[in-house]
Amino acid sequence: MSGQRWFQRRRTGLGWQPAGWQGWAITLVVVGAVIAVVVLLRGSSARIPVVIAILAAYAVVALATGGSRPGEVPSPGERPSEGESDAGVGGDEQREALSTLTVGRSATGSPGEPALVVEHLTKQFGERLAVHDVSFSVGVGEVFGFLGPNGAGKTTTVRMLATLIAPTSGRARVAGVPLDAANGVEVRKRIAVMTENPGLYLRLTVAENLAFFAGLYELAEPEKRIGQALAAVNLAGRANDPCGSLSKGLRQRVALARALLSNPAVVFLDEPTSGLDPVASRDVHELIDGLRERGVTVFLTTHRLEEAERLCDRVAILNTSLRTIGRPDELRDRLFTKTLLVRTAAPLASPETVFAVSGVDGWRADDTTRYQLTVSDTRIAAPAVTRALVAAGADLLSLAEAQHSLEDVYLELIADNPEATR
């Protein structure tokens, strides 16, 4: 055994460590030694100092070897490499593990019933209204994005649906179970929540953390489930690492494995990529895609609009009350008029005549050769405008539909509402 390994063993092997029978042996030896001193030195004035010395030595040994601090890293040889932290979660083995994990998932209630139904949910903390009259539903197997600025009430809504805090008013059904005081345990059996802070026990290993939660969910064959969950997030080789030694990205993955452990019908992910590098974020995205493919309902709370646009079937934008809800493209259509952008080589002689065609509701010139046309239907307006430009002898450089991102939608709805703070 190398010196380094021996030191590592000493640091964790004595005292009352998990596999440390040595700790108990030392305690028994000390007890025996004290008794022996008392008996053998009977009548001698030296017995008290000797007993004190034995107990002091025992205390020093126990203090010096009795455990690691939270977050204390293992020896360099056991520290995770950056390469490992970047390993993807989207490989075939991981997909297979994810597939196995999601077999036989718990039902969500009646067939065809949405996974989440929220009606007029309101939460007030003292004078402050955190969530006001929020209603929406989420279908089974849907990835639903919940967007909003800090303090908008996203986390409060998740906490209400996870039965952590009680709504002030309103109703909800979570995985087919009505949200009320009698059903707290039943609701929590069918859901999993990945909080923004991974919330891992840093002194425990990855497997011990998951074993604890497997016990709380009363899972049959917990070791098998833990192995599958770790394989699904590509952490199978790290099961015995203390969580305190893991990078933030790896901790996030452990938290994700924990959320998958119970094969929940609805997974609440609160900022799952917060603080992750782009590669790790991509891995999480692939995992969410994998969950969608397997029919798991995902309720995704995020600030990252490109993430929501890429992953979510529908999004809701919240700022205490619900501002809008729908598919990202629906929201764009709803909020922004359809626009054609026209660029010509030279200024048009009579743009008002050229653009007076069917499907064009109005127009304006951005500069002498760029025009913005408001249209009701691009499929009708674009060919008509092209024909009109050609007929007018214009040299057309480009004609394109203006694209609005989810970010534009978000800013349009939120930017003029600076009330949210946290």
Binding site: Q17, P18, G66, T163, L164, N197, L204
Partner: protein
């Protein structure tokens, strides 16, 4: 009530204690403190001492033996809820099917086992030392059956009481240190009670010891229910009290 969930909490807590320098330090230091003084008292008592002198000497030892289960558990128990909240692990736990009563019972058992184990171990060492090395007159007092029964019964029951006080305070406190200080303070009144028995102001007898033990058992059982009701996840997570649906009901 799910014993499996309670068992999971117990396992997790004990695993954490074993790797927590503070807990290990407390566990290691207490035997030292609580063994030294009794040892000196025992071995200073001469063979020629009167019965009243022997009772007085053993009264100190007996009191110290009952202080261990009163003082040690609240220090650990006070950390159990507010400490988890501070390190961000409480919220994920509360999103699982575990009930408040199961979580708290698991934490109480995990604190109870090492505390009482340690208290009994110290008591055993003292008794063996007395039998082998102390004056006969002290030995006669120490092995007086009602005295033994009182000690054996009261150690776990007092520990349980201290644990519920510690967990109760931990459920309402905003800071680990405040919780530990308050829990230790709240356990002190028990010392007055133990002093009365140790110094035989209340003369220990088998019926008295049994009666008091049953009363303590009832108080401990009520303590579990009261602390479970005091446990308010909404207050712990948001800092604002409310009635949540974490719930005892199924």
């Amino acid at each position: 009530m799910s014993l499996k969930r309670v068992g999971s909490v117990v396992h997790k807590e004990i695993r954490e204690f074993r790797r927590n320098r503070f807990v290990i330090g407390t566990m290691a230091a207490l035997p030292l403190v609580f063994l030294i003084t009794p040892m000196i008292t025992i071995f200073k008592t001469p063979e020629s001492a009167s019965a009243s002198q022997a009772r007085a000497a053993f009264g100190v030892i007996s009191l110290l033996m009952l202080i261990v289960p009163v003082v040690l558990p609240p220090v650990i128990a006070a950390y159990s809820v507010v400490g988890e909240r501070d390190q961000g692990t409480l919220e994920p736990v509360l999103t699982t099917p575990v009930r408040a009563s199961e979580l708290l019972l698991g934490k109480a058992i995990a604190t109870f086992l090492p505390s009482v184990g340690l208290a009994y171990a110290i008591y055993l060492v003292i008794l063996v030392s007395i039998r082998l090395g102390a004056a006969h007159v002290v030995s006669d007092v120490a092995f007086h059956p009602p005295q033994l029964l009182a000690q054996i019964l009261f150690i776990p029951l007092l520990a349980l009481w201290s644990i519920w006080v510690g967990i109760g305070i931990s459920s309402r406190a905003t800071d680990v240190r405040v919780a530990q200080q308050l829990a230790t303070l709240a356990s002190l009144p028990l010392l007055a009670f133990t002093s009365l028995i140790s110094f035989q102001v209340i003369a220990p007898s088998v019926p008295l010891a049994t009666g008091l033990a049953l009363a303590l058992l009832a108080i401990d059982a009520a303590g579990w229910r009261i602390v479970a009701r005091l446990f308010d996840p909404e207050r712990l997570i948001t800092g604002r009290p409310n009635k949540s649906i974490q719930g005892e009901a199924s």
